[in-house]
């Protein structure tokens, strides 16, 4: 089963305001390995080769915080989604 299909099983209350923000895009351009692009369980972060920037699909975020601590440059401004928004665990 593909990851996208797994995320589709989940219940989300989507927020228009992204709760994840790259602090300094220049840092990502020189980042070695870009751990955020593989450690995230929801694969929220992808590297856009053409635009040379990290794309952030925050809507699928599982709110675990892995990216916040896995980013060696502490370059992700990680907040909780606003109250009531984001993932809503059916089972948990």
């Amino acid at each position: 089963m593909r990851l996208e299909d797994k995320l589709y099983l989940n219940r989300y209350q989507p927020d228009k305001h992204p709760h994840l923000r790259i602090k300094d895009r220049e840092v990502c351009r020189h980042c070695d390995g870009r751990p955020c692009t593989y450690i995230c369980p929801a694969r929220v972060y992808t590297w856009n080769e053409k635009e040379e920037r990290i794309e952030t699909a925050y809507e699928g975020c599982l709110e675990c915080g892995t990216c916040r601590y896995g980013c060696a440059h502490d370059n992700i401004d990680w907040r909780y989604p606003r109250g009531g928004f984001g993932i809503m665990h059916k089972y948990g």
């Binding site: 099983l9 675990c64 601590y69």
Partner: protein
């Protein structure tokens, strides 16, 4: 401005245990939860222990939403092709007073939240606490994400979970959290009819089991895989140390898929329908990672305090007990001088006297040890399996020769000296 005697951040096991204890004693207490109900953001593998839960909620298992009582625990050590298995089953675990249950946090915590409200606490959901309010060097409340959202309190308990933004901001966890102190866990819930679950796992009606999986289950990274039986679902997951994941450049979902497709695992999951896929961090740093647990008008409990015993798969019980002890500390000092820092240091003393810090102190070197000795997750599972295969293969080779051969295989991978050293050190950190 809203005002309470005590404000609790987070409606997980720690926060709810604290709120329940305080409300029962008649304290004006409010719990803030960012999800739309307690449990909406909470996750664990799924084992809840009966005795510590009863320390807070006597008789809970007669009415709480539970999945199955755990009558058997199994340990599987995997290599690519095989599995060495070990287990313990007891009838004593199948009936009252029970030892443990599989649960879903979203359901259990919602029920627990209702109990807390019935006890007299105010539960405020869909509200993120964004900051602590300080005055004259002490905490005097919290700032929530709501308009005019400041709330005053004489004491605040941070039970915000592993992603302890406020604990870190308050300077109680110097240097923040490091990748070797955290495991990333991902979990899938898979639906399977209950008869099939009972047939496949060899269970009596309504009974449950847990399987922990080591070795190839985590591709040799420090961590553990798990399969837990629920009523009509299975919880399947894997947790690995974040530092190892970063080093190996792996995605947690790929590690989980690898485990699900292992030849010894996949037949247990065949035909099961995926229902949910979630992720959570687990504090794995142990005793050495514990933040300062108190400040002026401030206490920290549960995952935010890094109170997890990874060796014994215990976390929710440490959260419940730390929440309860935090509440009891507040009850003690409120009539004896108030919530200043020196008084609140009694919380640490209470934790030291309980199993919580005694156990974490006992295992204080394990997380560093396993981080520096990956052979316990890579080489040793392989050697154990090679030894077992050789031992069980009947091929007309005399047994004495077989034993010699097994010993040769082992010592060709790890010298006698290293073996002795590993064993001795393992005994030192675990014994």
């Amino acid at each position: 401005m809203l005002k309470f005697e005590v404000v609790i951040v987070g409606a997980g096991p720690a926060g709810l245990a604290a709120a329940y204890t305080l409300a029962k004693a008649g304290v004006e207490v409010a719990v803030f939860e960012r999800g739309d109900h307690p449990g909406a953001k909470n996750l664990m593998g799924g084992v809840l222990y009966r005795q510590p839960t009863e320390e807070v909620l006597p008789g809970f298992y007669r009415e709480a939403p539970l999945e199955r009582p755990v009558v058997e625990q199994r340990l599987w050590i995997l290599t690519e092709d095989d599995a060495l298995t070990l287990g313990y089953r007891s009838r004593a675990f199948a009936g009252e007073p029970y030892n443990a249950f599989t649960v879903f946090r979203s359901r259990f915590d919602r029920w627990f939240g209702q109990k807390v409200v019935e006890a007299g606490a105010l539960l405020i959901t869909e509200t993120v606490v964004e900051d602590l309010l300080w005055e004259n060097g002490r905490v005097v409340g919290v700032r929530t994400g709501r308009p005019q959202g400041d709330v005053r309190a004489e004491a605040v308990i941070l039970a915000e979970g592993v992603n302890s933004l406020l604990t870190q901001k308050a300077g109680l966890k110097k240097g923040g959290l490091q990748t070797h102190e955290l495991a990333v866990a991902v979990k899938e819930v898979l639906a399977l009819p209950k008869e099939k679950i009972e047939d496949r796992f060899g269970l009596e009606e309504g009974q449950g089991c847990t399987i922990e999986l080591l070795g190839e289950a985590t591709l040799g990274m420090m961590g553990v895989g798990f399969i837990y039986t629920n009523k009509d679902t299975l919880s399947v997951g894997v947790g690995v140390l974040l530092s190892h994941l970063v080093r190996r450049r792996l995605n947690p979902n790929d590690v989980l898929e690898h485990l699900k497709n292992h030849p010894s695992v996949r037949k247990f999951l065949a035909g099961a329908q995926p229902k949910e896929y979630l992720a959570h961090l687990i504090p794995e740093g142990g005793f050495r990672s514990i933040p300062k647990l108190y400040g002026p008008g401030l206490l920290v409990a549960g995952d935010a305090a890094m109170l997890v015993n990874g060796i014994h798969r215990e976390g929710s019980n440490l959260a419940l007990i730390s929440g309860k002890l935090a509440a009891e500390t507040l009850l003690e000092v409120r009539t004896r001088g108030g919530y200043h820092e020196k008084n609140l240091s009694r919380y640490r003393e209470k934790l030291e006297k309980s199993f919580v810090l005694q156990d974490l102190r006992k295992y204080q070197n394990t997380s560093l040890f396993f981080n520096e000795n990956p052979q316990f997750f890579t080489l040793y599972p392989r050697l154990l399996s090679l030894a077992a295969r050789e031992f069980l293969t009947v091929d007309s080779v005399p047994k004495r020769e077989k034993q010699r051969k097994i010993w040769q295989i082992i010592t060709s991978h790890r010298s006698r000296w290293k073996l002795a050293q590993d064993l001795f050190r393992l005994w030192r950190v675990l014994g």
